[in-house]
């Protein structure tokens, strides 16, 4: 006998909640994982879950099953603030002065050496 053995026979009564009683909603949760001590947290993927607790369980199954993570951060996707407007992030302006490639010194250095009468220093290592 099972605990609810009387329910094993279909007596026509409700054995499962009616469809309209399901109130939970699955939502995407983004999973960030740290592979080894000291590493930055990197995006791993996402899981669908009805709440944060189950999201942790699923994340553990999906991203921790092979011992490949030492820490997981699980965040409801709806809680992530996103900015992806390239006009703001990569404005179409010359910003080369902010990058190493914006400074080409070879010719200037050669001119400075000639002016000073010095030789090019030997490369290190």
């Amino acid at each position: 006998m099972t605990e609810n053995g009387d329910r094993m026979i279909d007596e026509g009564g409700p054995v499962a909640p009616a469809a309209d009683a399901i109130t939970g909603v699955l939502e995407p949760y983004e999973v960030f994982r740290q592979e080894k001590d000291g590493d930055p947290m990197r995006h791993g993927g996402n899981v669908m879950a009805p709440d944060a607790e189950l999201a942790l369980h699923y994340a553990r199954e999906m991203f921790g099953r092979r011992g490949e993570s030492i820490r997981l951060w699980v965040v409801r996707r709806a809680d992530i603030a996103v900015l992806e407007d390239l006009d703001l992030l990569q404005p179409p302006l010359d910003r080369s002065f902010k990058k190493p490639g914006g400074y080409v010194m070879r010719d200037k250095l050669a001119a400075a050496r000639e002016r000073a009468g010095t030789a090019k220093p030997k490369a290190r290592e």
Binding site: G67, F97, K108, A116, P121, E125
Partner: protein, 347 residues
Amino acid sequence: MTDPRALDPILAPRDRTDRPDGADRTARPWNDDLPHDERYELFEVHVLAGGKIEPNDWMPDEYRTAVLRFVEMHANSELMGVLPEREWIMRAPTLRRKLALTAKVQDEVGHAQLLYRVAEDLGKPREAMFDDLLAGKTKFHNVFHYPTRTWADIGIIAWLVDAAAIVAQQALRDSSYGPYARTMQKICWEESVHIMHGRDVVVTLMTGTDSQRAMVQEALDRWWGPLMQMHGPRSDRTKDRDLHWRIKAKTSEELRQEFLTIYVPRILELGLTIPDPALSFDKATGEGGEAGEPGEWRYTDPDWAELRTVVTNHGPMSEERLEFRRVSREATAWVRAAILAEPRAVA
């Protein structure tokens, strides 16, 4: 309903350190509720083996204080370090130089933001750090207590002061405090552009008129002393707790040697004279350089009395810089208040 125990650890705290499968050390056993000395020992084993500490980890008060002091001083230096340079934004010789200098100042303040965040997580509120900076209870780097007299100073600062700083900062990318180490990776990337900008300014001046060249030499003469003092006096490796806990990786003398090895040839290449007749590389002694090859730089002992005077806010510009900071903090107080204020309906 999930099993409430499903996310509980499988092994008891004490069984988690030596895993028979030799797997990566995943347990953080010092976080468990153990007697202080036991925790302390587990913490030390982890850190001395090159492990990282994260903000939510338990850590001994001494470690927390040491990291906080180190990061706070670094943050203060980034914040105060832009003041000598900002004075030259309006006087930059070309639009491109003005853009580059503005971007550098913006970057450095950004570094201060990142570093104050790291420090805040260790338990000291940002406002308390600003209070202490203005009250002279905490310090900022010696080089930012001096005036910037000419445009050549801007080149020398961006090239050589940033270079001396980056030598130290690169050694911090492997700090035992995880958030600091990761922040330093971003900061070092940005600093490398500042060095290019500074070197470009200097090299351009050195291909210019005689008076421009003389201006660079005059700037180097003034900055060389503070540059040599910047990393601090030689210290005993075995007594340095920051080294012991791997908060930092190198002694002040190692950093100074490294700086000299890289930059002395580049300075001399331009026909500049380094204002220290005793400066020479002695191949016979020491273990200078990253590669640990024999040889070390000899130089006139830096003026440590000057360093002490300057970093205790008795430098030529200390008061003026702190006053500027005080005034701008007051002038921007309404912004911080507005961010935290209750939203009010607007008609």
